[in-house]
């Protein structure tokens, strides 16, 4: 289905960019409520460990690559 491949390309690139630009926010979305917040950084902030951000950045690159691949197949 071409429409699904097109959607995969657009959403894949979009989510990949979000992962690269806002890795901390992506970590918080996936961890808030699963593990109690406020354990990292200092009191009063919701800092995210740098290694988790790097995992999200790598996922972002994979999503960009996947989105790019589907864009290529559609074109």
């Amino acid at each position: 289905m071409v429409s699904r491949e097109l959607l995969s390309a657009v959403l894949g690139v979009g989510l990949g960019l979000v992962c690269l630009a806002f890795p901390g926010a992506v970590v918080r979305i996936n961890t808030a409520g699963r593990v109690p917040g406020g354990r990292h950084g200092e009191y009063g902030d919701d800092a995210v460990p740098e290694k988790w951000k790097w995992v999200v950045r790598v996922v972002g690159i994979l999503l960009l690559a996947g989105g790019g691949y589907f864009a290529y197949t559609v074109v």
Binding site: G12, F22, A25, R28, G33, G38, G41, E42, Y43
Partner: protein
């Protein structure tokens, strides 16, 4: 009525989350038939239960929290006993950990609460400031904030899982369907979490207000936040600062980072506590 603003907001956000959950359940029934309803309902309860139990265990394990001995931390125990009485809750279990930074957090629920305080926080703050922080954490337990976050994330997870399966099982089972299912699940979860994060930020203000009521004034907690915040700015070159989002401007999150913050800006909290 205590915390009327919070109750109104909880009704609104709770209704939105329930509506999203109902839409996900209805969509699952529409696509897979009515036989899927028990799986959705039982699965939701099991998922949320596991998230609560595992989350609590993981939080304590990750910081290496240990029980706070009464003879070594007598003042902290006395303060928490007094504050718990004033706030009408059972005294939670107290734990401490060497976290490397001044910090404290609460896990669990009203009758099974745990407050973890870092040794750095105890060393940094004066007694009344530490009482402000402890009262804030006790307010989180009294207001069931941890449980609320688990429920919010649980609803977001269930809605995301249903969306993923609908994408996956209505497609041709090719690689594009798998890729799309993962992305749709994440995007749906993000959309639901906007509401959960918004209520989480508001609950921080409510916990601050409750802490101020419990200790009679907001100034000690405001000073504690100020002290920790000032220490954070001074240590801008330290390893701790590496944890601050690279896209923050002067430590303030922007854009999506702001939308998906669990805590409001510290300056705003200090302002509210003082006014």
């Amino acid at each position: 009525m205590r915390n009327l603003g919070l109750k109104v907001r909880m009704v609104i956000v709770g209704s939105i989350l329930f509506a999203l959950y109902a839409v996900a359940a209805a969509a699952a029934i529409f696509v897979f038939g009515s036989g899927v309803l028990p799986i959705v309902l039982i699965g939701s309860v099991v998922l949320i239960g596991i998230q609560y139990k595992v989350g609590k265990w993981a939080a304590l394990k990750s910081v290496g929290a240990e029980d706070m001995p009464e003879d070594r931390f007598r003042e902290v125990h006395r303060s928490v006993e007094q504050l718990s009485r004033d706030m009408g809750i059972e005294k939670p279990r107290l734990m401490y950990a060497d976290m490397g930074v001044p910090n404290a957090f609460a896990v669990g629920r009203k009758k099974a609460g745990i407050v973890v305080v870092s040794t750095e926080l105890i060393q940094l703050l004066d007694h009344d400031e530490l009482e402000g922080v402890l009262a804030h954490e006790l307010a989180h337990i009294r207001n069931r904030d941890v449980v609320m976050m688990v429920l919010g994330q649980g609803v977001a997870s269930v809605v995301a899982i249903v969306a993923q399966y609908i994408v996956l099982l209505t497609g041709d089972n090719d690689i594009a369907d798998f890729f799309l299912a993962i992305i749709v699940g994440q995007i749906v979860q993000m959309l639901v979490m906007i509401f959960v994060m918004a209520i989480s930020r508001y609950r921080e203000y409510v916990a601050d207000g409750d802490a101020a009521d419990a200790i009679g004034r907001g100034e000690p907690l405001a000073r504690a936040l100020e002290k920790i915040s000032a220490g954070n700015e001074r240590a801008s070159d330290s390893a701790v600062d590496e944890q601050v989002n690279a896209l923050c401007i002067f430590g303030r999150p922007i854009g999506l980072a702001k939308l998906f913050s669990t805590h409001p800006p510290t300056e705003k909290r200090i302002d509210r506590l003082r006014n």
